[in-house]
């Protein structure tokens, strides 16, 4: 038995899935003040009547960290930056309590400017005087050599016992200092609360005598064991759209180029599948207007859903952004998007007469024809969705390219189908697909695709390895330290790949998902000959190995 729970902005969905059939579906309003209780009540409801069944796995997609980041209530950490030469320090001043210190590492990991002892002492005084309890230490090129970050951490911990510290290289190991400092800052800010949450969940589960695997769904559509998620709170943001997209992948199970539209009450989330695989946001997840190193699906949200109310604006029919109540056909007093489609296409949803009546009433009030009014709203819905879809295609097609073959071959999104999930998809997606002249697919269980997607998603893992045979060092992102290469002149791409494979196997074992290591594929293989004078001085090799988002091995589709 698998359980998937997705905490959404309005509702929390849960499913109980036996590997073939959905046995239970639950939807409860989300209590943002107490997400833990919401999760537990969904958990209890989906298990009702099946408590004796063996649970294999629970996967949670939660908004705990997202909410923490959205509110101002949480204590602001300090941020120690070691930027060295480059952009002006003023371009990093987007958080309070920033301390700049001297020191610099270059792109090859060489120290080009030393830390200054007196500055570190001064730093301690400042941190103490401002009673900072949490701090992130981030250096430019710390991914190439974390020595400065580590030295600062050691010094601060000696001087201020109990200080909670995150260092950049351990939070984010790819290039991009700005994203690294943002990711580290938000990590140290939320990790305490996140750890509280995970231990509360563990406690509640043990009270219920549940001892199965518990995983967290990440923004990249992969899962991570709850036990080891403590230091990576940022990975859990935006897992809602990831759950929906993975749900679409699970319900479709085709190598297709598709648009996935998850139409909810007042928002529609749009994501893309390319040859069956979800597309990632090229710049990482954006939190509060800042790019981060958190890998997330490219998702575009449109403020439009089945419950979006039809309103008059400057004498013209338009859509309201805030949900007022449910659609008229479900007993609401005001016509909504669902009512418009219900009326125009005789969909017979709920009380179809109410859809008509509410629209007629609004039309009468404003001396309009009900058909014109409805058609106008329909066009607004399609125009907004279509515009968002086309922008996503264009963004993907116009992503920068750094190799000749990438430019020569170009990119064109050839759309095969639109997959509609979420409660509001049924009425809207088939007609949108017709307009775009492609197939529509509204899978069964689409209304709980998010929770279903969560419970059948597999872990994602990745290792980035960099070898600089001229300096004689190799490092991987998740180990953080630089190791000497034994015989650097003989070190080849194949050696780098095999080291990366070892490293990924080790990582998989640590996370209790050893069996997935064999699924890994190389997504990056770069090799540069370093020429100094006119002869070879060494090589710079970078390889990346990953287990991409996908479905657990045992999953073979959902029976109706």
């Amino acid at each position: 038995m698998l359980i998937g729970i997705d905490v959404g902005g309005t509702f929390t969905d849960g499913v109980l899935f036996d590997g073939k059939k959905v046995l239970q579906m639950v939807k409860v309003p989300t209590d943002h003040q107490n997400i833990k209780d919401t999760i537990l009540s969904v958990l209890d409801e989906v298990r009702e009547g099946n408590e004796s069944e063996d649970l294999e796995r629970i996967v949670l997609s939660t908004t705990v960290v997202t909410n923490l980041l959205a509110t101002d209530s949480i204590e602001k950490p300090g941020l120690v930056l070691i930027p060295g030469p480059g952009l002006p320090f003023s371009s990093y001043e987007f958080f309070p309590h920033i301390y700049f210190i001297h020191g610099a590492i270059d792109f090859r990991g060489r120290e080009i400017e030393k830390l200054r002892k007196e500055e570190l002492a001064e730093l301690v005084t400042q941190i103490k005087s401002q009673s900072i309890k949490k701090i992130a230490v981030v250096g430019k090129f710390s991914n190439r050599n974390p020595i400065h970050e580590q030295t600062v951490r050691k010094f601060l911990l000696e001087q201020i016992p109990g200080l909670e510290i995150c260092v950049g290289a351990e939070c984010a190991s790819r290039l991009n200092f700005r994203r690294r400092l943002v990711t580290s800052y938000y990590s140290v800010m939320t990790q305490g609360k996140w750890q509280d949450f995970t231990s509360e969940i563990k406690q509640a589960l043990s009270l219920r005598k549940i001892s199965c695997k518990v995983d967290i769904l990440k923004a990249d559509g992969g899962t991570l064991p709850l036990d080891i998620s403590g230091s990576q709170p940022c990975e859990t943001i935006f897992s809602g759209p990831a759950a929906s997209t993975m749900g679409a992948v699970a319900l479709t199970r085709k190598k297709t180029n598709a648009v996935v539209i998850d139409i909810g009450g007042t928002t529609s989330d749009i994501s893309l599948l390319i040859d069956g695989d979800p597309l990632y946001a090229s710049k990482g997840a954006n939190i509060n207007g800042h790019y981060t190193h958190t890998r997330a699906f490219a998702v575009r949200s449109v403020a439009l859903g089945g419950d979006s109310p039809v309103m008059m604006h400057d004498g013209k029919a338009d859509l309201g952004i805030q949900r007022i109540e449910q659609a008229a056909c479900f007993g609401g007093g005001q016509p909504c998007v669902t009512d418009v489609f219900n009326y125009l296409y005789d969909l017979n949803i709920g009380n179809a007469a109410s859809s008509r009546q509410s629209l007629q009433q609004l039309a009468n009030q404003h001396n309009m024809d009900i058909d014109n009014l409805s058609k106008r709203i329909e066009n607004i819905v399609f125009d907004r969705l279509q515009e968002a879809i086309e922008q996503m295609f264009a963004e993907w097609e116009n992503e920068p390219a750094y190799k000749v073959w990438e430019v020569v071959n170009g990119r064109k999104f050839g759309l095969d189908e639109i997959i509609g999930i979420g409660a509001g998809a049924g009425p809207i997606v088939p007609i949108l697909a017709k307009r775009l002249d492609v197939q529509a697919f509204i899978p069964p269980y689409g209304a709980v695709a998010n929770a279903l997607g969560a419970c059948v998603s597999r872990p994602t893992l990745s290792v980035l390895l960099r070898a600089d045979t001229e300096s004689g060092y190799v490092s991987t992102d998740h180990e953080g330290s630089m190791k000497k290469i034994n015989n650097p002149r003989a070190f080849q791409l194949a050696d780098a790949k095999s080291l990366a494979e070892d490293s990924l196997r080790e990582l998989a074992a640590q996370r209790g998902v050893a069996s997935y290591a064999s699924e890994a594929e190389f997504f990056l293989e770069e090799q540069f000959n370093m020429i100094r004078g006119w002869s070879s001085a060494g090589k710079i090799i970078e390889v990346g190995l990953q287990v991409t988002p996908g479905l657990i091995e045992s999953f073979e589709g959902v029976k109706e």
Binding site: P88, F107, K403, S535
Partner: protein, 449 residues
């Protein structure tokens, strides 16, 4: 927000040869630096995608022997196309200015292209200039070549074009490739004074180069009033460049771009891949995007090591005076040339292709037209290293040709196609009608772009 467009195209899968300076590694550390800085994430920067140039864009500038495909590989088309993409973005006000950090470079590629010289096959800036004129109706354009090597290709292409002000400062040709760029090279008879060369002594520093900028380049631009300013942005004036001997710094390059305020910058040479390029590229980008670059410096830069010598400065001052005088007297010079050369001006030139070892001889002819910049023909013979000899005849009709030169050009092409048996190809570059013909004499087949 006003944005600066950037195309970063390092061509990580292209090299002239594995150990050549123009190799995959060239922009690797620049990639590391600009990506680590996260400058592409800033709201004032828009990273644009490269595209490919069309064969016709190339033919508008070059006579490629035997054809465009032979001289412009996919990598060249992407580098040139990236410049065109930036040009479109600037002209369509998508961005306020733009920097194409692309390779392979182009400023040594001349009008006739038999092969690669000075690491260049086709001239990215020249292709962009003619594209801008064709597509956006621009006329007066200034190109400031800040590469340490004389921009002899660009000079050759615009030598007879009075609407292009080509300014190149570089290490003196007596001490560095390509051995040209002397003050006497000042434009063809009908475009005298719009090619301005500033050969600088080795070891010139920020002080010397900024003296040239303040007292010569900026005043000339002020007086010329171009529709667009292009920085042909080589980075090998840098003190760490392995192929040259100048003492310019990243700060110096950044300040140069602040002053010059180019609409478009296109990367040219620069082979100090670790110690210059990451910092100079950042500097140019920051200057163009109006980002404070006071914190930008090379790890080993110490200002006190780079003092301009009194001797250099005196030389530079005299040079600046002389060249400003040349520029300001250009109308009188053209008038004198008309009297002196009457109907036709002829000259010959010998051109060496260092990369591909080609020895080319040209006999050039210019109609001294009273109405336009004149019809040009080039009779070009190239001796390749393997003994192959290519002789071609090239006819160029200017974009703003008078009816007389237009007809004469077409007639010359028609008659050469009939009678030019000693040539392998006859080419007609008709910029007036934007039509480019090539005729293979042996098979009598014609191609039109």
């Amino acid at each position: 927000m006003k944005q600066t467009g950037v195309i970063f195209f390092p061509a990580f899968d292209w090299a002239i040869s594995p150990t050549h300076p123009e190799r995959e590694e060239r922009l690797l550390y620049t990639r590391d630096q600009i990506f680590e800085e996260g400058i592409m994430d800033l709201p004032q920067i828009a990273e644009l995608k490269p595209r490919m140039a069309e064969p016709k864009d190339i033919a508008r500038v070059h006579f490629c022997v035997p054809n465009v495909e032979a001289q412009a590989t996919d990598a060249h088309l992407v580098a040139a196309g990236s410049a065109l993409r930036i040009a479109d973005a600037v002209m369509q006000k998508e961005v306020v200015n733009g920097f194409a950090i692309v390779r392979p470079p182009g400023h040594h590629a001349k009008t006739v292209a038999h092969g690669n010289r000075g690491f260049c096959n086709i001239n990215n800036e020249a292709i962009m200039v003619e594209y801008l004129r064709k597509n956006y109706g621009l006329r007066k354009i200034a190109i400031v070549d800040t590469d340490v090597h004389h921009g002899d290709g660009t000079q050759d292409i615009f030598f007879n074009d009075p609407d292009t002000l080509f300014i190149s400062f570089h290490q003196d040709g007596r001490t560095l490739y390509p051995g040209t760029g002397f003050i006497e090279e000042a434009g063809g008879p009908l475009a005298a004074g719009t090619t301005i060369n500033i050969p600088l002594p080795p070891e010139t520093t920020d002080v010397g180069i900024h003296y040239v900028l303040d007292h010569l380049v900026m005043p000339m631009l002020e007086e010329f009033q171009p529709d667009l300013v292009i920085n042909s942005a080589g980075q090998d004036n840098h003190y760490s460049d392995p192929l040259a001997n100048m003492n310019f710094s990243a700060q110096g390059y950044a300040r140069l771009n602040t002053k010059l305020n180019p609409d478009i910058a296109v990367l040219e040479g620069g082979y100090s891949v670790e110690t210059a390029l990451p910092y100079v590229n950042m500097g140019i980008l920051m200057a163009m995007a109006d980002i404070d670059y006071s914190n930008l410096r090379e790890p080993d830069y110490h200002q006190q090591h780079f003092k301009e010598s009194e001797k250099n400065l005196t030389y530079i001052q005299r040079l600046v005076e002389k060249q400003l005088e040349l520029f300001r007297g250009r109308q009188a010079l053209i008038k004198r040339n008309r009297e002196k050369h009457r109907d036709v001006f002829t000259e010959s030139e010998r051109i060496f292709y260092d990369t591909d070892y080609i020895d080319e001889r040209q006999n050039k002819r210019l109609t001294m037209c009273a109405e336009c910049s004149g019809l040009r023909t080039i009779d070009s013979t190239a001796h390749h290293q393997n003994g192959m000899v290519n002789r071609v005849f090239c006819i160029s009709i200017p974009m703003h040709a008078c009816p007389g030169c237009l007809d004469a050009g077409k007639e010359a092409y028609a008659s050469m196609c009939k009678m030019g048996q000693m040539y392998e190809y006859i080419y007609l570059q008709n910029k007036f009608n934007d039509e480019y013909r090539s005729f293979h004499v042996k098979t009598e087949t014609e191609k039109v772009l």
